[in-house]
């Protein structure tokens, strides 16, 4: 199985938000009541939410080619080794071999540890519902299983969102940088970030200036490795502690028995001595 991926080239994005609409349509997500907010003016809504899994974030800033708009489409990164799935104690979040990180509503307890663990802040919780779930982009896993690409990639009119085999898209991204070095920041965001992600970004401005976490903060080791060390110590601690504490208990008990026996013997000797005298 060659894992699927997605290449998002912000320099090709015109900010039409067709992907946002296609995502809502396919996943039957309701609209949001939105208000004008300070900051990047035309962006709507302000942030990802349980109802909005895909969002075009508007940024106006100094790029490689002067002051310009940069449209950064946000969605789940579908990490190669996702932090959220390793955080989930009931396997409600699962990394599929095909690439998508999917959510099983029937298992979720609503503990929200996945939200703490995700460095990209993707899982969202339904705080307004009596029976809440975690909601997030599924990489259109249902469509992928039918041989189709995600709704957002399908609908993109400029080819800013491309769906395909991750390895091939990575080659494509590097080729684009090689062919047009003046156009791009020399970095494919997602190639190594947090151990690599299914979603890859090309941009004319560093992605951390567009609201994504800094690559040096994310590191290149997969997040699950952060707790693997601790968890691998567990069996050792159990065995060593059980042996040590059990042994210590027996030792102390034996010592008390010996002390008691010695005291008894002492009394015995004293008694016989008294009898003799």
């Amino acid at each position: 199985m060659r894992a699927k991926g997605m290449l998002i080239d912000t320099t090709r994005c015109i900010g039409c938000r067709g992907c946002q609409v296609a995502c809502k349509q396919w996943n039957k997500l309701p609209g949001e009541n939105t208000t004008f907010f300070g900051g990047p003016g035309y962006q709507n809504p302000a942030r990802l939410s349980p109802k909005t899994w895909s969002l075009v974030a508007y940024n106006e800033l100094n790029t490689k080619n002067g002051f310009d708009w940069v449209f950064l489409r946000r969605q789940c990164m579908h990490c190669n080794e996702p932090s959220c799935a390793s955080a989930c104690l009931v396997k409600a979040l699962e990394k599929t071999p095909e690439g998508p990180v999917v959510y099983h509503e029937g298992k979720c307890m609503g503990c929200r540890y996945c939200m703490i663990a995700c460095p990209f802040d993707i899982p969202k919780f339904e705080y307004e519902k009596a029976i809440p779930s975690i909601r997030k982009c599924s990489f259109c896993f249902d469509r992928q299983q039918q041989g189709e690409g995600p709704a957002c990639a399908k609908t993109c009119p400029t080819g800013a969102i491309q769906f395909g085999v991750r390895d091939e898209l990575l080659d494509e991204a590097k080729t684009r940088i090689y062919v047009e070095p003046h156009r791009y920041v020399q970095h494919v965001y997602g190639e190594h970030e947090a151990g690599g992600t299914s979603v890859l970004y090309l941009s004319n401005a560093p992605l951390d200036e567009l609201g994504m976490p800094k690559p040096e903060e994310l590191g290149t080791t997969p997040f699950p490795a952060l707790t693997e060390g601790f968890l691998s110590m567990v069996p050792l601690v159990i065995i060593v502690w059980a042996g040590f504490l059990g042994g210590l208990h027996l030792l102390m008990q034996r010592r008390e028995e010996i002390a008691a026996a010695e005291a008894a013997a002492e009394r015995e000797i004293q008694k016989t001595e008294e009898d003799q005298s």
Binding site: S83, S86, C88, V90, A92, I116, T227, M252
Partner: protein, 392 residues
């Protein structure tokens, strides 16, 4: 041979200020819980997608578990290290521990999105790669251990001779299992935050987080036992064996000595954490000052105060220091889970009033339960028909 072993005098005085205020909190909390379970967490909390964990996890769960560590600490001292002089404070320590964990679970039931699935990790679906999975199993198993350790008191109260004998045979096993489970889940609560390196402030984020949480739980446990025994001897005089009351000061000095040593190790470990991450430059920032306050004011200061108190045999100072130490542990857990978590956020989480009410009500509920039990069962003194000293 049934009924209360100890006289219940306070039974008739129901309308004390403490009861009235505590009762009010519990009633209002029930109202809030109704809103929470019909309208969702957003209706009663300030939690949001940026701050998914708030006061209920930061205080009720993290502090609750740390402060309930007295159970395993004293059990290890008595059963494993055979320091039998601590026997009189073992049962209240185990009761405090058991109730602590029990009410942590109650708080979790309020906080979880779908609380009825709390049993899933034990009976249905196993996310073994998760630190939270370990916490879930351990809290479940440790509650069982603590119940076994406390159950002889119930058996003595009801006069179930056979049950008591069987339960006492399980005591050592339950104690050793309890120490193992506590070592792992106390540290696991710190390990939970290992997955948030980009969100937790670097002065609190460290690969040593599990060690910090484990070591500080011992400190919390010892200090809580000092605090709890001080309060018990004050408010449950009739239930307390006068011989135990006389020896209490000496026991508290012993606990203070252990706590002082543990605090000293913890103090140095905290600095190893800073050195490990090379975060010296952050000490000058405002969060750095906050960190220094925690490390000097709530770790080194109580360490020195305990040491001074032990040296001068000053029991009052030990009791005062226990309050300071407990406050320090609470501060640490809140720093990790709330204050230092996304410290740079423009709209930082502050708990809503209803979150405080639920938290206070749960604490009140725990105190009421503690009182109900110690006024009936042989906890603060031995049952006249069953001498603990002839066991083990």
């Amino acid at each position: 041979m049934s009924g209360a072993a100890v006289p219940v005098e306070s039974k008739n005085k129901l309308l004390t200020p403490f009861n009235v205020i505590g009762g009010l909190f519990v009633i209002v909390a029930f109202g809030i819980a109704v809103v929470r379970f019909t309208k969702g967490l957003g209706a009663v909390t300030n939690l949001n997608d940026e701050f998914p964990w708030g006061l209920w996890i930061g205080f009720d769960v993290l502090c609750g578990v740390a402060l309930a560590a007295g159970g395993y600490t004293i059990a290890a001292a008595v059963h494993i290290f055979r320091l039998k002089q601590y026997r009189p404070i073992l049962r209240p320590a185990i009761l405090t521990g058991f109730l602590g964990y029990f009410f942590v679970v109650i708080a979790l039931l309020v906080d979880l999105g779908r609380p009825w699935r709390i049993v899933y990790p034990v009976f249905y679906t196993y996310g073994v790669a998760s630190v939270m999975f370990l916490v879930a199993w351990h809290v479940f198993l440790y509650l069982t251990c603590q119940f076994i350790e406390f159950a002889p008191a119930i058996a003595e109260w009801r006069g179930w001779d056979v049950a008591r004998r069987w339960l006492l045979r399980l005591e050592i096993g339950a104690c050793i299992a309890g120490v193992i489970l506590s070592t792992l889940h106390q540290s696991a609560l710190g390990a939970l935050f290992l997955l948030a390196p980009t969100k937790l402030h670097p002065l609190w984020y460290s690969p040593l987080l599990p060690m910090f949480f484990f070591l500080s739980s011992i400190i919390a446990g010892l200090s809580m036992v000092i605090l709890e025994s001080t309060l018990s001897h004050r408010y449950f005089k009739e239930q307390t064996d006068p011989r135990h009351a006389k020896g209490l000061g000496r026991l508290q000095l012993g606990l203070a000595e252990a706590a002082s040593l543990a605090l000293l190790s913890y103090f140095f470990l905290k600095w190893i954490g800073v050195a490990h991450g090379l975060h010296w430059n952050l000490l000058g920032t405002s969060m750095g000052v906050w960190f220094l306050l925690e490390v000097f004011g709530f770790i080194l200061l109580p360490c020195l105060l305990y040491a001074k108190a032990v040296r001068e045999k000053n029991v009052r100072l030990v009791q005062f220091t226990s309050v300071l130490t407990v406050a320090g542990i609470i501060l640490n857990r809140l720093n990790v889970s709330i204050i230092g978590f996304r410290w740079d956020s423009v709209a930082h989480y502050v708990p809503r009033w209803s979150e405080f009410v639920i938290t206070i009500a749960i604490v009140m509920f725990a105190i009421f339960t503690f009182r109900w039990i110690v006024t009936r069962m042989p906890v603060l003194s031995e049952h006249p028909d069953y001498k603990l000293t002839d066991v083990s």
